[in-house]
Structures are given as structure tokens and as C-alpha cells.
């Protein structure tokens, strides 16, 4: 994976749970520019474990002087965000992958409607800067539980096409209302919890939106789960996947060579053939089709898990 060693220039709390980090090149070189919605993968050397988490870039896509991310501390997560919060300090060097965008604006759109839930605001922070610069019509709807938890309040510019929906102020999003009022040719982008994405998909379907005009990015780190074992067909070895580990991380820990990119089930790079499966693969990816998932002949090790008697994969 192509990556850069960058220095942490700033670390700042935006809310009790969300911290903003800024990375710069140690020799002040400028970094590749990117487009709104792009993410980077941050490598975290945590003792014997090398964690890698993907985070959306929230800095100005046209500013190569640094990259910024916002990290929400997930106390029930696998430990990456806790590491970022507790251990990473200005001056530290971290390995950061080059930006990749799997959630880009569709530039054919006549108008862009961005819908964010909670920490799902992050890809839109950079997209809003891009849309403003390009002077394209858009509106952003940002839902959060409370003002205290809404990290985006401090990251977004004060412009009239940004609407805040704060649950404890009783102005929750009315998806039906604002989706039914959009001009033809509008594209909708949703990032946040699965429930929000499903609600937008259902509302869109009800209103007759074309599927290709609805884009989404589940803001997802690999979900933890029960430990399981996997047999590697090429070596015959059996590896153990821990409760707070992904299959991809377990393969890396076992020094099995495997390609990867987004680590969030979206890019397809780590797709692995299943040789035999006695049990159920818990597919959490957005790469395989429903048919491919139910066939249980392929697995995306970055996010998917297994329950059952035995799983043999082609690695």
C-alpha cells in the first residue's frame, strides 16, 4: 500500500468524544490533493498489534499543506479510535495511506443533497468546501443527538444551505419533506448509521428516485464479534480471529500476504475465495452482490466474520 510517514501537527478535542488530528509532511513537502469524500488509512502501532483504520479527510481538498481527520472514540470498538484518542500526540509520526475516494460527488448531478448522521458528517466537510469552490447547488442536512455531540458544528462554514437537525431540540430530519422537494437530476449522498442510510433508500424508492442517484457510505469500522477460526488452504494453517480483530488483521498478524485498500468493505481489493464453508459468513461488506453473499463462496476479510463449524479460504 502506498503511504506516507506524516507528523501529527495538531490534536484537538471537538466534542467529548471526537478529536481532530492534523498531519503534515515532516519536511514540509506538500501532499497530494484529493476530492471531497476521500479517505486515508491510518496505521497505529499499538504494542504487538498494527491497527489500520480508515478515516475521511475533513481538510480542504485543495490544500496540500496537511491532511485532517476527525476520530470518534468508540469504546466498544476494536481499539483503533481509543489508541488515537489516548496515545497520539502532536509530534508523533504515523504512517498514512494516500487518499482514495470511494464516495465521490457525481458531477453529472444538477444538485447535490448531502445527508449526515453523527460522525458521518466527516466526508461532507471536505465535499462542502469543494461544492462551495465549484459554486454547485447543494444542501446539507446534518443530524446529531445534541449540540455537544455535534462535532460538525465546528467544522462546517456558516452558510444558509447547511441545515442542522438536533434531536434534543426537536427538529429531527423529515426525509420525506426535503427529498420530495428536490429538482430532477438531484443526487443524494448519505453517510451515517445503517438506519439512516436505509431510511433514505426507502424514502427515495417511495418517491421514485433512480437508484443510481442515491449514494451512501456506511461509516463503518470492522465490527467486533465472536472469535472464530479460519483454515488457510494454501498452507493448511489454522488462524484464530479475535473478538476485536478483523479477519484481515488476523491474516496480517499471521504474515499472510494480502492486498487491501479501504478496509471498510467497499473497494474489493481484499476479496478472498472461500474453498469450503460449514456455517454462516456474516457479510458486512458493500462490495459483493446479494447473490454472491448468499452463495458463501467469497468473503471480504476486512469487515466480514464467520460463525459455524469450519471455514477454509484460498489464502
Amino acid at each position: 500500500m502506498t503511504s506516507l510517514m506524516l507528523r501529527v501537527a495538531e490534536a484537538e478535542s471537538l466534542t467529548p468524544l471526537v478529536k481532530r488530528f492534523r498531519f503534515e509532511h515532516p519536511r514540509g513537502e506538500s501532499l497530494p490533493l484529493f476530492s471531497g469524500g476521500a479517505h486515508v488509512v491510518v496505521e497505529m502501532p499499538d504494542g504487538d498489534v498494527l491497527r489500520r483504520n480508515a478515516y475521511s479527510l475533513i481538510s480542504d481538498p485543495q490544500d496540500g499543506s496537511g491532511y485532517e481527520i476527525a476520530v470518534r472514540r468508540e469504546d466498544g470498538g476494536r481499539g483503533g479510535s481509543r489508541f488515537m484518542h489516548a496515545r497520539v500526540r502532536p509530534g508523533d509520526l504515523l504512517r498514512i495511506s494516500l487518499p482514495l475516494n470511494l464516495f465521490a460527488l457525481d458531477l453529472r448531478a444538477r444538485k447535490h443533497v448531502l445527508i449526515a448522521g453523527g460522525i458521518g458528517i466527516t466526508p461532507f466537510v471536505a465535499q462542502v468546501r469543494q461544492l462551495l469552490r465549484m459554486q454547485l447547488p447543494f444542501e446539507l442536512h446534518y443530524g446529531a443527538r445534541s449540540r455537544d455531540e455535534a462535532a460538525g458544528l465546528r467544522l462546517l462554514p456558516d452558510v444558509p444551505h447547511i441545515h442542522f437537525h438536533i434531536s434534543d431540540e426537536s427538529n429531527r430530519m423529515d426525509l420525506g419533506a426535503f427529498l420530495s422537494a428536490q429538482p430532477l437530476g438531484t443526487h443524494v449522498y448519505t453517510c451515517g448509521p445503517e438506519g439512516l442510510i436505509n431510511a433514505v433508500a426507502q424514502t427515495g424508492a417511495r418517491l421514485g428516485w433512480p437508484k443510481t442517484a442515491l449514494h451512501s457510505e456506511v461509516f463503518q469500522a470492522p465490527p467486533p464479534g465472536r472469535p472464530f477460526e479460519v483454515v488457510l488452504a494454501r498452507s493448511g494453517r489454522t488462524i484464530e480471529v479475535g473478538a476485536h480483530q478483523s479477519l484481515l488483521e488476523a491474516l496480517e498478524a499471521a504474515e499472510v500476504e494480502i492486498d487491501w485498500s479501504c478496509r471498510g468493505g467497499a473497494c474489493g481489493r481484499c476479496e478472498t475465495r472461500v474453498v469450503s464453508c460449514h456455517g454462516r459468513i456474516e457479510h458486512h461488506d458493500h462490495w459483493l452482490s446479494e447473490d454472491e453473499q448468499s452463495a458463501q463462496t467469497r468473503i471480504m476479510p476486512c469487515v466480514s466474520r464467520f460463525r459455524g463449524e469450519s471455514l477454509i479460504i484460498d489464502r
Binding site: 501532499l31 490533493l33 487518499p99 458531477l107
Partner: protein, 348 residues
């Protein structure tokens, strides 16, 4: 290094010639004695092998000025060789920036780019162009940004939009193509425009290649080589002009095959563009006459073996099946059966 630009043609009297230097640096595409499709990607960028066509990001060679002249002739006859769907203008600016920046950094004696915010000043010495313009303001250039810069860069350019987990041929400048048409392919997705390629789909090549391309990040371009054969050093072997070059295939004889039959190699590279998230796909064409190619003994031996053992469908698809026996007979005299060294470069 200063480059002496050839005064030569790629049509009519075909005065195109490769100098001894150009022959030595030709991107011979076969790293072993046989050939089959593969997703043969490798990193591209600065720091490629010195003197080779991989050394700079956008190789400029002795054919630059003549190739740009040939492009202008083709465009004058058929403006649809350059097309950009409306949503691709931003990608056009991205491509303009990429090419100007790379050329100015890699060939400072030939190209200069001065940027003062959005006010840019571009100097192209070989073509005698000096242009002041405002970046992202199309009214300050004589034509669209993609057309402007690709009239000054060797090779064809496809600019691919990325959406719905696919790539879309939504813009391009295509005047030196191996028998495909931008006007036909415009708006198609990756699987649609590759539909004519034999065997590869069933081999799963396209799925794997697409997956790789979709995940090309910023700042990490990749490349591969592709190849075919062309009679006469003609850049514009397009379907639109098949009536001009197709019949020339029938002019090959055992006496003239060395001089008239060319190996045509495409240096294809893949670049993520920053603002648009589009993928730039430059397809740079290099031509070499068989009689020049056989001056490198390793290449002569290997090309003979590759062409001799190539599956029939591929020779058919690449359009040289009709002359294959003559080509094989010609190359056979340079193949003494000795083993060849790995890799594509000459031995000495």
C-alpha cells in the same frame, strides 16, 4: 539533455524514423518468450530507469513535434476525435494541471509553468507556445482544458469518470489509436468498451483490472504495456479511417516486411485526478520497424517466439493474422534458439 526533434510524417510518405537512441529506449513489451493477457500493472512515476521511456512521468522524445502536427491534421479532418461530456470539464483541468506540472518539473529546459494563485503562465518551447490563463476559467484558453493540453502531449488520453463501482469513457483525445473509436465508445463503461476483446472476459481479467483501477489512490500512478502490429508508421489507425490504412496491410511482402511492418507498443498509465476523482488514462504509442527492432538480438529472438506461438484469436484481434506467416519467416532468421534473459531491456 536536449532533444533534437525530427521533421517527419506519420502518413502519406511516412518519413517517420527512429534514431539509434530511440531504438535503444524502445519499450519492448515482452518480458518472457510467450505472451498472454495479464493484469501486468506496475508503479509509474519519477525515478524510472534512466534513459528509458519510464524515466519521466510523461515521456517526451524526438517525435514530439511531428506527433503534435499529425494530431492537428487528424483533428482538422474529424473534430469528434476529441470529446468531453459536460461533467468532465473539471477532470480536464485536473489533467491540464497534471501534465503541465509534470512536464515543467521533468523537462525544465523545454517547458515552464509559473503559477500565481489561479493566474498561470505556460511556456512550451518545442511547440513555440506561450499562454497566460486563469486556472478553472475556460474562457481564458483557446479551447477546452483537456483539448488544450492534449494538443501538446504525445499519446492518446482517455479520461474516465468513476461512479457506481465502474469507470466511464466520458472524455478523451484519441488520434493515435489501435483501431478503436472514441466517438463509438464515449459514455460506455469499462465492460462495454472492452467487449470486443477476445478471451479476456472469461479469464476474469476485466473484473480484476477494474478492481485495481477503482482503487488507484492520489499520487500513486500505475502503468502497463500493451502491443499490436501496424503496417507503416501510422499513428491514426482508427476505424473511421480504416479505408486509408486497412488496405496497406496487403502491401507486405517478404522483401519489404522488415521496413514496413511495425511493432506498435502502448505505454498505458493510470492517474487519479485530484478535484474530479476521475482517472486519467494516457495511452502513449511507440512504433518501431522490425528491421530496427532486430538490431537488439534479445528482442529479435523473443519477438519471433512470441509471434510464432501466439493464439490465433489474438493475432486476429490485433489485426495482423494476414501477415503473420511473413512476419514469422522474417523474424526466424534472427532467432538462433539461444535462451533470452528475463526482463524487457536489451542485454548490453
Amino acid at each position: 539533455m536536449t532533444i533534437r526533434f525530427n521533421d517527419e510524417t506519420f502518413r502519406d510518405d511516412y518519413s517517420f524514423r527512429n534514431s539509434a537512441t530511440a531504438i535503444r529506449r524502445f519499450p519492448f513489451p515482452f518480458d518472457k518468450d510467450d505472451y498472454m493477457y495479464s493484469v501486468n500493472m506496475e508503479p509509474h512515476g519519477t525515478g524510472g530507469r534512466a534513459g528509458s521511456v519510464f524515466e519521466k512521468r510523461f515521456d517526451v522524445d524526438e517525435h514530439y513535434v511531428a506527433e503534435m502536427r499529425d494530431r492537428a491534421i487528424t483533428l482538422a479532418g474529424d473534430p469528434l476525435r476529441c470529446q468531453s461530456l459536460p461533467h468532465m470539464e473539471l477532470a480536464g483541468w485536473d489533467l491540464l494541471e497534471l501534465i503541465m506540472q509534470c512536464k515543467a518539473e521533468d523537462y525544465p529546459d523545454l517547458f515552464q509553468l509559473h503559477r500565481d494563485g489561479d493566474r498561470w503562465h505556460w511556456i512550451n518551447r518545442p511547440l513555440g507556445i506561450e499562454q497566460r490563463f486563469t486556472f478553472l476559467d475556460p474562457t481564458t484558453l483557446p479551447c477546452g482544458p483537456m483539448e488544450y493540453i492534449t494538443r501538446q502531449a504525445q499519446g492518446d488520453f482517455a479520461v474516465l469518470d468513476q461512479r457506481e463501482n465502474n469507470l466511464w469513457m466520458d472524455a478523451g483525445m484519441v488520434t493515435s489509436q489501435a483501431d478503436w473509436s472514441l466517438d463509438f465508445d464515449i459514455g460506455m463503461n469499462f465492460f462495454e468498451w472492452h467487449a470486443p476483446v477476445p478471451k479476456a472476459a472469461e479469464m476474469g481479467i476485466f473484473q480484476r483490472a477494474l478492481k485495481f483501477l477503482l482503487a488507484i489512490p492520489q499520487g500513486a500512478p500505475s502503468r502497463r504495456l500493451n502491443w499490436t502490429m501496424t503496417v507503416n508508421p501510422r499513428l491514426d489507425t482508427s476505424p473511421e479511417n480504416y479505408h486509408l490504412w486497412g488496405p496497406e496491410k496487403r502491401t507486405i511482402t517478404p522483401e519489404n516486411v522488415g521496413a514496413k511492418q511495425y511493432l506498435r507498443v502502448e505505454l498505458q498509465s493510470f492517474w487519479r485526478l485530484p478535484r474530479s476523482n476521475a482517472l486519467a488514462f494516457p495511452i502513449r504509442c511507440y512504433l518501431i520497424a522490425l528491421e530496427d527492432l532486430v538490431t537488439v538480438p534479445k528482442w529479435a529472438r523473443r519477438l519471433h517466439r512470441v509471434i510464432r506461438d501466439l493464439p490465433d484469436e489474438l493475432a486476429e484481434y490485433k489485426g495482423f493474422a494476414v501477415n503473420r506467416p511473413i512476419i514469422i519467416d522474417y523474424l526466424a532468421q534472427f532467432d538462433d534458439g539461444k535462451p533470452t534473459s528475463p526482463g524487457i531491456f536489451p542485454d548490453d
